[in-house]
C-alpha cells in the first residue's frame, strides 16, 4: 500500500475550479434547454396530432435507448460538420465544448420530456375541461392552467434529474474536454498522483450531490404536506 500524498491538490485548485466551471456550464445549459425542449416534446407527445406525437415519441425513445457515451460521440462527429457547412467555422477550431453542450441539451430533453409528460398527466382532466369551458384556447390552457400545476408537482423529480445530469457531465471525458473530472484526471496524471486526485474528485462530487439531494428531500417534505 502506498503512502498518500495530497500536496499536489492545493496548487491545482485553480485548474480544478476552471473544470468545475465547465461542468456547471454544461449542466446549466442542459437543464435550461432540456426543460424547454422537453416541454415541447412532452406536449407534442400528448397532442392529438398523430404524426407529431409519433415523432416526439420516436425522438424520446431513441435517445433513451442509446448510451450517453455514444450520444456524445455522435454529436462530436456531427456538430463540427454542420458548423462548417452552415457557419463556415473551420474544422480545426475547438468545437468540443459546443458539441458537448448540444449533445447534453438534446439528450437530457428526452429524459425531461418523460418527467414533464408524467407531470402533465398528473393534472386532473377536469382542469383542462374547465379551462376549455371558460373559452380558453389550447395554448392558454396549457400555459395558465396545466403547466403551472404540473411543474409544481414535478419540482423534486426535475431537481433529482439535474443531480444525475451533473454527475453525467463527467462523461465529456470521452471527447477530451477538461470538465471537473477531466481536470482532476489531468492533474493526477501529470503529477503521478492519480490515486489522490481521483479520490478527491469522488469526494467533491459526493459532497455536492449528497448535499443537493438532501435539499431536494427537504423541499419534497415541505411541498407534500
Amino acid at each position: 500500500m502506498e503512502e498518500f500524498d495530497w500536496t499536489s491538490i492545493p496548487g491545482a485548485l485553480p485548474i480544478l475550479a476552471d473544470g468545475m466551471l465547465i461542468t456547471l456550464e454544461i449542466t446549466a445549459t442542459a437543464i435550461l434547454i432540456g426543460i424547454l425542449w422537453g416541454t415541447v416534446l412532452a406536449l407534442a407527445r400528448l397532442s392529438g396530432n398523430r404524426p407529431l406525437a409519433w415523432l416526439a415519441a420516436a425522438y424520446v425513445n431513441l435517445f433513451r435507448a442509446v448510451p450517453l457515451v455514444m450520444v456524445i460521440l455522435w454529436f462530436y462527429l456531427i456538430v463540427p460538420t454542420l458548423l462548417q457547412r452552415w457557419f463556415g467555422v473551420s474544422q480545426s477550431s475547438d468545437i468540443r465544448m459546443i458539441s458537448a453542450l448540444v449533445a447534453f441539451a438534446l439528450f437530457e430533453s428526452a429524459y425531461y420530456a418523460e418527467i414533464i409528460r408524467a407531470g402533465v398527466q398528473s393534472v386532473p382532466k377536469g382542469q383542462v375541461d374547465a379551462a376549455f369551458a371558460l373559452g380558453m384556447p389550447y395554448h392558454l390552457t396549457m400555459r395558465l392552467v396545466v403547466l403551472p400545476q404540473a411543474f409544481r408537482n414535478m419540482v423534486p423529480l426535475l431537481l433529482t434529474q439535474a443531480i444525475i445530469l451533473f454527475q453525467d457531465t463527467s462523461l465529456v471525458y470521452v471527447i477530451g474536454l477538461a470538465d471537473f473530472f477531466g481536470a482532476a484526471y489531468k492533474v493526477g496524471d501529470r503529477d503521478g498522483r492519480l490515486v489522490e486526485l481521483l479520490l478527491f474528485a469522488g469526494a467533491v462530487y459526493f459532497i455536492l450531490c449528497f448535499g443537493a439531494s438532501l435539499l431536494v428531500w427537504q423541499l419534497q417534505k415541505k411541498y407534500s404536506t
Binding site: M1, E2, L62, A65, V66, P67, L68, V69, M70, L73, W74, L77, T81, R85, I163, Q167, D168, S170, L171, Y173, V174, F181, Y185, L194, V195, L198, L199, A201, G202, Y205, F206, C209, F210, S213
Partner: protein, 245 residues
C-alpha cells in the same frame, strides 16, 4: 456533403487480417452483453440483500445499507470506474496489488468494470426493493411474525415474493440502464461496443457507418430486453394490483 458512404466496409478484412470489421463489432457486442449480464446478476443479488437490510428493524444494519446507497448514488459512474480501476490496486497490500497489475490487462479492465457496474446498479436495485417492501401493507410482516415465522422466514416466504413481483416494471428500466451504462467501460479501454465504434472510426474513417451500426445494436438490445421483460411482467403480475388484468 462530400461523404463517401461505404457499407461494404464491414465485410472487408481488418489490418491484422484475422477478422472483418463486422467481426470486431460482434466481439464488442459480446463484451457488452457479458459485462452487462454479469453486472446485472451481481446487482440483483447484492441489491436484494441491501434492500432487505434497509427495511430490517436494526438501525445499524439499515443505516449501513442506506450509507452504501448514498455513496454509490452520489458519485458519478465514471469516477467510480476509475477508482475501481486505478485506485483499488494501490490500496490493496503491495504484494496483492502488484499481482493484480501483472494480470492480463483485458481481465483487469473487465473485472474493474464488472465490479463497478455491479455495485453501482446494486444501489439502484436496493432502492427499488426497499420501495417494494415498504409498499406492502404492514399487516403482512406482522402476520408472518404472528404465525411464528422468524424474521428471515418472513422475508423469504411472505415479503420478498410479493415485493419482487411488484417492482418488476422499475427493475426493467434498471436492467436497460445496465446495458447503457456498460458503455462507460470504454473509457478504461475495454473493447466493448462503443469502444469498437471508435476503433472502427480510427481504422476506416467511415465514422457514420460505424456509429449507425453500433447505435442500431444498442437499440436492438433495448427492444429485446423490453420485450422479454414485458413477457415476464405479464406472467408474474399480482392480481388485484394496478397494472394487472
Amino acid at each position: 456533403m462530400s461523404y463517401n458512404w461505404n457499407w461494404d466496409i464491414f465485410l472487408s478484412p481488418t489490418p491484422s487480417g484475422e477478422s472483418t470489421y463486422l467481426g470486431w463489432l460482434l466481439d464488442g457486442l459480446q463484451w457488452t452483453l457479458t459485462l452487462s449480464l454479469g453486472a446485472w446478476i451481481m446487482a440483483l443479488v447484492l441489491g436484494i440483500g441491501l434492500g432487505v437490510l434497509r427495511t430490517v428493524p436494526n438501525r445499524l444494519l439499515a443505516g449501513s445499507a442506506a450509507a452504501y446507497v448514498e455513496v454509490f448514488r452520489n458519485v458519478p459512474l465514471l469516477v467510480q470506474l476509475f477508482i475501481w480501476y486505478f485506485v483499488l490496486p494501490e490500496l490493496l497490500p503491495t504484494t496483492l496489488g502488484d499481482a493484480l497489475k501483472q494480470t492480463d490487462p483485458l481481465a483487469q479492465q473487465f473485472f474493474a468494470a464488472l465490479l463497478c457496474l455491479g455495485c453501482f446498479t446494486a444501489a439502484r436495485v436496493c432502492e427499488q426493493v426497499r420501495a417494494g417492501i415498504a409498499s406492502l401493507p404492514r399487516g403482512q410482516r406482522n402476520a408472518g411474525l404472528a404465525l411464528g415465522l422468524t424474521l428471515p422466514q418472513t422475508y423469504r416466504y411472505v415479503l420478498l415474493p410479493m415485493a419482487l413481483r411488484l417492482i418488476l416494471p422499475p427493475l426493467t428500466s434498471e436492467f436497460l440502464n445496465v446495458f447503457k451504462n456498460s458503455a462507460v467501460a470504454s473509457t478504461i479501454g475495454l473493447i466493448e461496443l462503443s469502444r469498437q465504434s471508435q476503433q472502427l472510426v480510427d481504422y476506416t474513417a467511415q465514422a457514420y457507418e460505424a456509429f449507425i451500426a453500433v447505435t442500431v445494436l444498442y437499440v436492438l438490445i433495448n427492444v429485446l430486453v423490453m420485450f422479454g421483460m414485458r413477457l415476464l411482467e405479464r406472467r408474474t403480475r399480482v392480481p388485484g394490483y394496478i397494472g394487472s388484468k
